[in-house]
Amino acid sequence: MSSLTVFYIGLFYFATIVLVGGVAFRIYEYWKTPAPLVIPTTPAPTTRIGVSFRMFREVTLFESLFKSNKWTWIFGYVFHVSLALVLVRHVRYFVDPLCEPLVFIQPFGRYASFFMVLGLAGLWARRFLVDRVRYISTPSDHLMLALLIAIGLSGMEMSFVSHTDIVDLKGFVRGMMTFNFQPLPNDTSLLVHLFLVALLMIIFPISKLLHVPGVFFSPTRNMVDNPRDKRHIAPWAAALERKNG
């Protein structure tokens, strides 16, 4: 087995551990940090079910962003939906045999990549063209977009220009999953693509990508508007109460 294959196997194990462990740790942190006061942005649902609907609309339709700015919404929405399709399409490299819906989605996932890169380009353009957004953009904001676009373009290159050997690729991926290691096809686009994906996985838990799990914990969105009917008290606040009476 080539040292390149060994490097990539090591890289992906490391990236997977960092991604899963890191995100799990962040979720644990957010979950255990109490929200001492009831602070939903109102008008807010008065029941748990209502809050679930609010959160569902927020994460599937980007409701608040839609209210806010139509350009950011269009670019952001196109990017996220396309990314979702692309990610689902990639499941084919992990499972065997393929189920019917997964086969069906393949062409949609392939062409979604164009929209994904388009959405990202739009978001990036805003960082240059809108003076307010330019002012708040940090170098990492630009690099994050560059990284995602590079991942998209390197993937599209393999999909639409010079096809990589996906049977071998699948063997490599399945090999890592089953500890029955197989060689990685030596294809430049693939190496670049996989390296950047691993990089993205590694920086996920220490970057703004935490908005993905984070939105579900946002107290202004996930709290029920019922403070007159239900007493809400955080453990540290209850301790304070016992001390002060």
Binding site: T42, S68, R126, S140, I206, K208, D225, P227, R228, R231
Partner: protein, 510 residues
């Protein structure tokens, strides 16, 4: 009035306030007065930045990050998408980019990244992390006092990031480092020592109320009472102390008294709890907020009332509606002895606490109150949704009742009503520009410029429909508008309370 030392923004031709090009540093010269030794020590804070200020800042920040999920989360999840950048009235009125909500948050986030995150420690230049310096503290003090904690940004953020939470945390950390704001902290002293924000002692309060009773009787021929400290009364009214002697606030107090009179209610005010306002909210200190709120609980227990009603005050209603149950057990659903002690005294038929608008609207719906609407015919009215009522509370049973109920009251007592442009009311309402601890003369430039979006919306309905009255249910909004509308060429008599309108039209019997 001497002319202002700054340029008052020009009113637009429509209700829409143009988004300005950013003008970095345009409000960098602003500095609220710094709190002195007295108020700082009373609140348990140092009053100067000692040598260990940096440790104190980072200590407190670490503490806040552990205690508040909002701050912990909001530090991490902002993606700098820019959705909030044109939503803050202070940015729209000043063009200072640090008044964009995300940039205001970044003032804290860059310190958070530097000292609490791995990338910020390793590659600060890449992720926008910065060392904590005295300059940072000056920027915090400046720009965290150019935020009225109105939550408009939180409506538009795809993750619900609420800059108010960051501002509150920032002020708490500043206080802890010995860099407090004079206005808010002096008020927090007065309310705890004397019982209200204005420092109005008991005897003065008795005098004021007696004078008002005489005025009402002279005016209407009906002996409407304003009872104080009556044990065994059914209702305790807790209202902002401005209602006792500021104009136009007092007109609303007269309105509440007339409503209680017409309903034949047994009610009382309390000298111990002669203030609904709670500036602990603005400072972001849970314990201070709780101590101030406990006065209401204590007064309710001492007077043995069955029901607690809150007068026209925006942030007070937020604290009452959303926090009193948590802070003081005043509400329903608590099953601990502390909560049960108060619950067993309160009347289970009612929402506790109740907003005065909920109370009045309920009586109107039941047909208890009678009005001569024509008495308000000289007024063409619009209604300003106050930020804390709109985005941090509710009235009635349905979400959005905080928008419909006050409007329903106005329409029941007056004939001429026109709403301002949709994107400037309801959940999208623009702050008056003076909320959240900004209502002080040392910040007048911030207040005047921050009022611009509201003034544009008002100007548009004033031109189109001849609107001449801006109805409110917030003591801070009333005081703020009274002061700033003349800068825009309006007459301050255009500002008044919803219960001022009720009081004008209500029919009283002996």
């Amino acid at each position: 009035m001497a002319g202002p030392e700054f340029e008052v923004p020009k009113l637009a031709d429509s209700s829409y306030t143009d988004v300005p090009k950013i003008n970095p540093g345009s409000m960098a010269h602003i500095k609220a007065f710094v709190a002195g030794q007295g108020p700082q020590e009373f609140l348990g804070y140092p009053w100067t930045m000692a040598d260990d200020w940096k440790e104190r800042v980072l200590d407190r920040m670490g503490e806040v990050l552990k205690k508040y999920r909002s701050v912990r989360l909001f530090m991490d999840i902002c993606v700098h998408c820019g959705a909030c950048t044109d939503k803050c009235h202070y940015f729209l009125g000043t063009a200072d980019p640090n008044n964009m909500p995300v940039a205001r948050q970044e003032l804290m986030r860059k310190v958070y990244r530097r000292y609490f995150t791995l990338p910020g420690k390793v590659v600060p230049w890449l992720v926008g992390a910065e060392d904590l310096t005295k300059d940072t503290m000056d920027q915090w003090f400046n720009y965290f006092h150019q935020c009225s904690e109105c939550r408009r940004c939180s409506v538009y953020c795809p993750y619900g990031i609420d800059t108010a939470e960051i501002t509150m945390a920032g002020r708490e950390i500043l206080n802890y480092a010995g860099y407090g704001q004079k206005y808010s902290n002096e008020i927090l002293g007065k309310v705890q020592k004397i019982g209200n924000n204005l420092g109005l002692p008991g005897p003065a309060l008795i005098d004021t109320l007696e004078g008002l009773e005489e005025d009402i009787e002279a005016d209407t021929g009906v002996a409407v009472k304003m009872p104080l400290d009556v044990k065994g009364a059914e209702i305790l009214l807790v209202t902002p102390s401005a209602d006792f002697f500021s104009e136009p606030h007092v007109e609303s107090l007269i309105g509440y008294a007339k409503v209680f009179h017409a309903a034949g209610a047994s009610w009382t005010l309390s000298s111990h709890a002669s203030e609904a306002g709670n500036f602990g909210l603005f400072n972001g200190n849970y314990e201070t907020m709780r101590t101030v709120a406990m006065r209401i609980r204590d007064a309710a227990l001492e007077l043995g009332v069955k029901r607690i009603i809150v007068g026209e005050c925006g942030h007070a209603w937020r604290v009452a509606y959303a926090y009193w149950n948590t802070l003081t057990g005043l509400g329903w659903g608590g099953n601990d002895p502390f909560s049960i002690e108060l619950q067993s005294q309160l009347d289970p038929r009612y929402k506790q606490p109740t907003h005065i608008c909920e109370y009045t609207w309920d009586l109107i719906e039941k047909g208890v109150l009678k009005f001569d609407k024509s008495l308000n015919d000289h007024r063409v009215i619009t209604y300003h949704d106050s930020c804390n009522v709109a985005r941090a509370s509710r009235m009635g049973d349905e979400p959005g009742g905080q928008f419909t109920i006050p409007r329903n009251i106005i329409k029941a007592v007056a004939n001429n009503f026109h709403d301002m442009a949709a994107e400037t009311i309801g959940e999208s309402t623009f702050c008056c520009g003076g909320g959240g601890g900004v209502l002080t003369d040392d910040l007048i430039e911030v207040r005047v410029k921050g009022a611009l979006p509201r003034m544009n919306a008002y100007n548009a309905v004033s031109k189109e429909h001849g609107v001449n009255f801006l109805a409110l249910i917030c003591a801070i909004c009333k005081a703020q508008f009274n002061k700033v509308v003349p800068f825009y060429g309006f007459d301050m008599s255009m500002v008044g309370g919803v219960h001022q309108l009720v009081g004008t039209a209500i029919k009283l019997e002996d």
